[in-house]
């Protein structure tokens, strides 16, 4: 129920997950600022994946796209 609610709350542009719904990262853009994880409604430490250029593989991820939306450096995107 809570997850459904959170998906409604996420911004329109990224509320619809693209690709396979997983969040990929370009590690060379990441400055480890932590804005991503701060905005994650599920409390996932997205920075730990982003800085290493890894796709977020945490089971809690609901593909809301908040982290992609808020990243100031264009590090995160939907995995295609």
């Amino acid at each position: 129920m809570k997850q459904w609610f959170i998906k409604l709350w996420a911004k329109d542009e990224t509320a619809t997950a693209a690709g396979n719904g997983r969040v990929a990262a370009d590690g060379t853009r990441c400055v480890q600022c932590g804005v991503c994880g701060y905005n994650c409604p599920m409390g996932i430490p997205v920075r730990d994946y982003a800085r290493q250029g890894l796709t977020v593989s945490d089971d809690r991820c609901i593909s809301c796209g908040q982290c992609i939306e808020v990243c100031p450096r264009g590090t995160l995107r939907w995995e295609s």
Partner: protein, 456 residues
Amino acid sequence: MIMTTTSYLIIGNGAAGATAAETIRQRDGQGGITIVTAEAYPMYSRPGLAYVATGEIPPHQVIARTPEWYDRQRIERLQAEAARLDVRARRVGLADGRSLSYDRLLIATGARAVPPPYDGGELDGVVYLDTLDGTRHLLRKARRARRAVVIGGGITALEMAEGLARQGVETHYFVRGSSLWSKVFNEAESAILEEKLSQHGVIVHYRTEVSEILGNWRGKVRAVRLKDGTEFKCDLFGVAIGVKPHLGWLQGSPLQMDRAILVDDYLQTNVPGVYAAGDCAQVLDRWTGQYMLDVLWPSAVAEGRAAGVNMANGRVPYQKGIPFNVCLLFGLHITAIGQVNPHRDAADEAEEFQAISRGSSEVWFTFPRHYSSAWAAKGPNTLRLVLDGNKVVGALIVGEQSTADALRDLIEYEADVSGLKPFLRADSDRLKCEILKFWKSGEWRERPPIVISRSF
């Protein structure tokens, strides 16, 4: 049989130092790793301080490693200030009198903000956006401040102005020249950015230079005196006039230095066993053929990683990438890659000395041999290419960012873009479409980037 372990000593706990330590641990499970840091915090994101200043994230959120991470990695973290280097004894002397020995040493002490070159810099109300403590102090001061003046050309000054405006302080940005950061932005790009500053309530004053910071009887900032002799009232003075590599403590050491510590393609200095990485290191830049300073977070991470590999018995030349930065300023995305100076040569630009700003590279300000440029704009979305003959050597992208990855690759690979030349005067949509088509065709990949290793 006695197993000897290597002792690794790293001075500096920023992007380069922490990454080097992590890399060493991956390669050497036994060696002792010690990081010496002057700050009380675990490694934190310095670029993230901009988002602390705007209030988007709380200060603690920029801390990128936990104390538990250091424990798990078996990295000892020591809070102290390095004061002396004795390469013969292989020891680093600390300011508190202790000294530490090493088998392999990494100097990753970074850079520090330059204070104003005139009186008043020690007054209460002078703030910086350079360290976590300094940013916390800025936020505390901003809560009670009514009017701020910000000085400096470069990303940090703009971030500070944005942060203070968002904190509700009436913010005035004093610019010495007649446009914003003229070494990087052309007039049109500067105008777009200035419009954004105005929309966010920042008042820009061109050709305005401070000559002194004035304080009241309580030692607090009350105004600044300008070069024309007039006074401008303010109670907060934000300084972002660049940074200088922190090298003072290495005076008298045999390390070869220029604007920073010179290192070879293995990040080693002229002293065997001593390495340098990050904002205090000058690395050979293959595009300009010179030893250049990048004050860029991704460069520091990559250099730290390369230093870590080579310190832990690797022998892998560092593949320096093309210096690039993408930032979000006043809601505008800006990407700068490679040689982006909008001037044709040094004679063409007005003399404007300032120490290098964080978030930039010396390479950005240089000039290609056979300069030409292309420009396309659609509203606030602009694209400027700098070419050297048939190669794109620089790109400055404002707003819409669809071509950023493509241009980074084409510049990195020194791709022959003769196929794009017919479209360089096309409209913005057409030019971007052709760039993406050219990039996706992959023909430019046939020639891999040239790598020549050099060691001291």
